[in-house]
Amino acid sequence: MQTKEFKIKWGMVIDIDKCTGCGACMVGCQVENNIAPMTKKDPYNYVQALTTDRDDAANKLRTLTWLTVYELSNGKTFPEHEVAYLPRPCMQCGNPACVPVCPVIATDKNEEGGIVSQIYPRCIGCRYCMAACPYHARYFNWWDPLWPEGMDKGLCPNASPRPRGVVEKCSFCHSRYLKAKDKVRAEGGDPMNLPDGAYTTACADICPTKAITFGDLNNPEHKVHDLAKSKNAFRLLEKLGLAPQVYYMSEREWVRKQGDNYNGNGGHGAPATNHG
């Protein structure tokens, strides 16, 4: 399988040494992408007495968190213990595992910019893509989105709500890309050469330490271009060959090592050098 290359390759470089795991990015993401708060009761369910409650945020297997902050531990006991936080959006892989398994081509990587698309009306909810994605970046709508009374007034115009039964994932706030291109076109600029910062994601915007840097990995004028090549940069599960467009960086070696722990200890799943 070949990595799909584009002239523009939107990507992120996340500095783990600056992430405190505060969760502002996750909240900002949900607001931007109209991910409804998880509510137990459904006022539209007229046979509630006969049905079970919906899941609330306590059930982490049913929440929709396009961006999730994971806690990493160096595994040592007190006082050698160290902790780090790792925000995980969709990796927008160059060679995505989710795309070839989709039976209805509801997800594809074919647009300039290299963002893996997700077409909700086409999705049949088979969840093959979720099984295929090694980053657990895809989420299934187990329930219809439901905003508590009055809260649907404040929906973001950038993302249409999805019904239950479809899979969704981080889109790098795709409508912000469209808007940025429109704006540059209106100003007479080149939409194929957006200046650094003209298009950013909600999470990168809101992050108080600016741990998330967003831009075109192929454009030398964008900060991410050099950051992704810096000596402490790494990608998650790089050995799987999915070529993620999201990079991480950390000065802490144990953090970098955990980025590829699939092949940790050199044992199970070690590089396939001795295959026949």
Partner: protein
């Protein structure tokens, strides 16, 4: 006519075949399957011009400078305000959900007297009568640390001959009691985290919940030195990014700080303070590294190492948290080091007769409030310290239903931060005095009234509306209202006179001695903004950001190191009861090696009994198990040194 067996069979087969061939049944089944799965309610988006309107948000303790994003005039989200030094483009997780909270069904819809809806005129009449009868037995509890609304409330108290203004327990109060109370300073202490080249966070979880969190995070990211050291009992979110974590028990923080003073003075540092010699003698005899090590468990070479880092820096700073003694010790150390601690002047007052910020912080709410008429402004004391509050008639101003509004006699809905004039003057911890202002972005969605407007209608304080008060404040500061409303902050780089400050040697010597409760393990309560604060519960979109280290299902999670768990005979997932203070809490155990042995870390801000489904019944309320103890030497109350007993259930 009789139906023969054969005719019956023929008819049955005919009917079956007929049904198989008619589409009616299948389309009906298809329709049923579609209609039973239909979206009962289809959310529609509003389209139109989008805009970002700068304002301030008061959901977190320090307040955030935000921009509210609107589409066709309707607010839908928040983003940071790059032009304001408090934000620099970022916001905290609470304020990130500000607009959703504004639309929440948990908003208080109208004034309520004993559970019945009344008009604003009736509310004013009721309060006026109660006030007239109360004489000077009137008190105010404010949950706002930075707003001019406090001037209005304190001026009302002054007009009644009362000085019973209470702040909710906060870091600013401990710092003020140390700085202006014990050390004779004036103004408000600040910390220049951006330009410091070595920062010791002595208990201050500055990159998660302490002080102006977003400004701290911005300063941390911009700081070139990268030398941040966090000292505290738990490896917090702050410690996840600092270059070093020094495990220090909460109650030992003041002694630990004095232990560092020992090395710093040994290196020849001094302060031209009147009691320097006395201070030096006190530290050199009472807080030698060996003695501090014996009292706190922190190794002498660890303290020496921290002192070395601070001494090697050109512009070091120490940031305290917790007790008054800890704050005083840190200020003394800062004076010795002569680094990036700043002192901010207070802005001019808008309302005659209003208290200064320092005066507002004098009363100790932990020692109890007793009044005939009690005003509670956007605070939730009935959640955090219910036993301390006694009042004949309670008036609660808030925009959301809380434990406090549920217990109040009269509930008056305030507009949300984004629906009113709201200002934010120098949140505690910022390096320079700053003032930010926001104008209403939308009309209140409920029958709310600005608390300022209501109070100004009760007494003649020289203003008709709160907007006039804000105008007067802006004029007193000498700022430009249009620029402020446009999103710029007014920043004053001026430092008050620091001469005459003492090191509080006589008090500190006694106050810094670690005092611990009698429970089996020490309790380290901590705050995460996405979990909530004493005054603000978690917000609609935040629950899925809360990790399994704080909440699993509806159960609170407490963290401890494996050695502590072994000692207590518990393991991951054990259900335990923590008893301390005046109550107990239920929790599940999580092993987290970033907790000092002998300490259990528990998240504050959960276990609400009133509110929306996102916070109500989620986890347990750790405030119940905090022990209020009196720091005898400083004459203040503290939660530091709380201990609990842990029983497996």
């Amino acid at each position: 006519m009789s139906v023969a067996r054969r005719a019956f069979i023929q008819m049955s087969v005919g009917a079956t075949v007929g049904i198989l061939f008619t589409p009616t049944v299948w389309t009906a089944l298809d329709d049923v399957s579609i209609w039973t799965q239909n979206w009962p309610w289809i959310p529609t988006l509003k389209y139109g011009e989008t805009a970002s309107v700068p304002t301030v948000s008061k959901m977190c303790e320090s307040g955030c400078a935000v921009k509210v994003r609107t589409v066709a005039g309707t607010a839908f989200g928040t983003e940071g305000n790059v032009d304001n030094p408090l934000s620099g483009g970022g916001i905290c997780p609470l304020c990130a959900n500000g607009v959703q909270t504004m639309y929440s069904p948990n908003r208080i819809k109208a004034p309520m007297l004993a559970g019945k809806e009344i008009s604003w005129d009736e509310a004013r009449t009721v309060v006026a009568e109660k006030l007239a009868a109360a004489g000077s037995k009137v008190a105010v509890i404010s949950g706002d640390q930075t707003g001019t609304i406090n001037e209005v409330f304190s001026a009302l108290l002054a007009s009644k001959g009362s000085d019973a203004f209470y702040a909710m327990p906060c870091e600013m109060q401990a710092a003020d009691k140390a700085w202006t109370g014990l050390m004779g300073g004036s103004g408000q202490v600040g910390y220049d985290l951006e330009n410091a080249d070595a920062v010791l966070l002595a208990g201050a979880d500055a990159l998660e919940s302490w002080g102006p969190t977003v400004a701290n995070l911005k300063a941390f990211a911009a700081n070139k030195s990268g030398k941040f050291i966090f000292a505290g009992p738990v490896q917090t979110r702050t410690a996840a990014v600092t270059s070093k974590w020094v495990p220090v028990p909460t109650e030992g923080m003041a002694a630990f700080t004095l232990g560092i003073c020992y090395y710093v003075m040994q290196a020849g540092k001094s302060v031209p303070a009147a009691d320097f010699e006395q201070f030096k003698a006190m530290v050199m005899s009472g807080y030698t590294p060996a003695k501090v090590e014996a009292a706190t468990g922190v190794k002498a070479d660890v303290m020496a190492d921290v002192a070395k880092t601070l001494l090697a820096a050109n512009n070091p700073v120490v940031v305290p948290a917790g007790s008054v003694a800890g704050a005083a010790a840190a200020f003394a150390l800062n004076l010795l080091l002569g680094g990036a601690m700043t002192v901010l002047p207070e802005f001019g007052k808008a309302v005659d007769g209003a208290m200064s910020r320092s005066d507002m912080l004098q009363k100790d709410i932990l020692q109890g409030v007793d009044a005939d008429v009690l005003f509670i402004y956007e605070a939730n004391p009935m959640y955090a310290l219910p036993e301390q509050i006694k009042a004949g008639f309670t008036v609660a101003f808030d925009s959301l239903n809380t434990e406090t509004t549920a217990a109040a006699d009269l509930v008056l809905p305030t507009p949300h931060s984004f629906e009113r004039f709201e200002d934010l003057a120098s949140p505690y911890g910022v390096a320079a005095a700053s003032y930010s202002l926001g104008a209403p972005i939308s009309k209140p969605t409920v029958n709310a009234m600005s608390a300022g407007d209501f109070v100004l209608g009760l007494a003649d304080l020289g203003f008709e509306t709160f907007e006039e008060v804000v105008d007067a404040k802006v004029a007193a500061i000498g700022a430009d209202k249009d620029e402020l409303v446009g999103g710029a902050a007014y920043v004053l780089e001026e430092t008050p006179d620091m001469s005459g400050v003492t090191l509080a040697a006589s008090v500190l010597g006694k106050a810094a001695v670690p005092v611990k409760g009698t429970g089996a393990v020490a309790l380290a309560p901590y705050t995460l903004l996405n979990v909530g604060t004493a005054n603000q519960a978690t917000t609609p979109n935040a629950p899925c950001t809360i990790s399994n280290n704080q909440l699993i299902g509806d159960s609170m999670v407490v963290m401890m190191a494996s050695v502590t768990a072994k000692k207590l005979g518990v393991g991951v997932g054990s259900k335990v009861k923590l008893s301390g203070g005046s109550g107990d809490c239920e929790a599940l155990v999580q092993i987290y090696e970033g907790v000092l042995p002998g300490v259990v870390a528990a998240p504050l801000g959960m276990g609400h009994t009133v509110g929306d489904e996102f916070s109500k019944g989620k986890g347990d309320n750790v405030y119940k198990i905090l022990t209020v103890s009196s720091e005898a030497a400083t004459g203040t109350s503290t939660w530091a040194g709380s201990t609990v007993n842990v029983a497996k259930i």
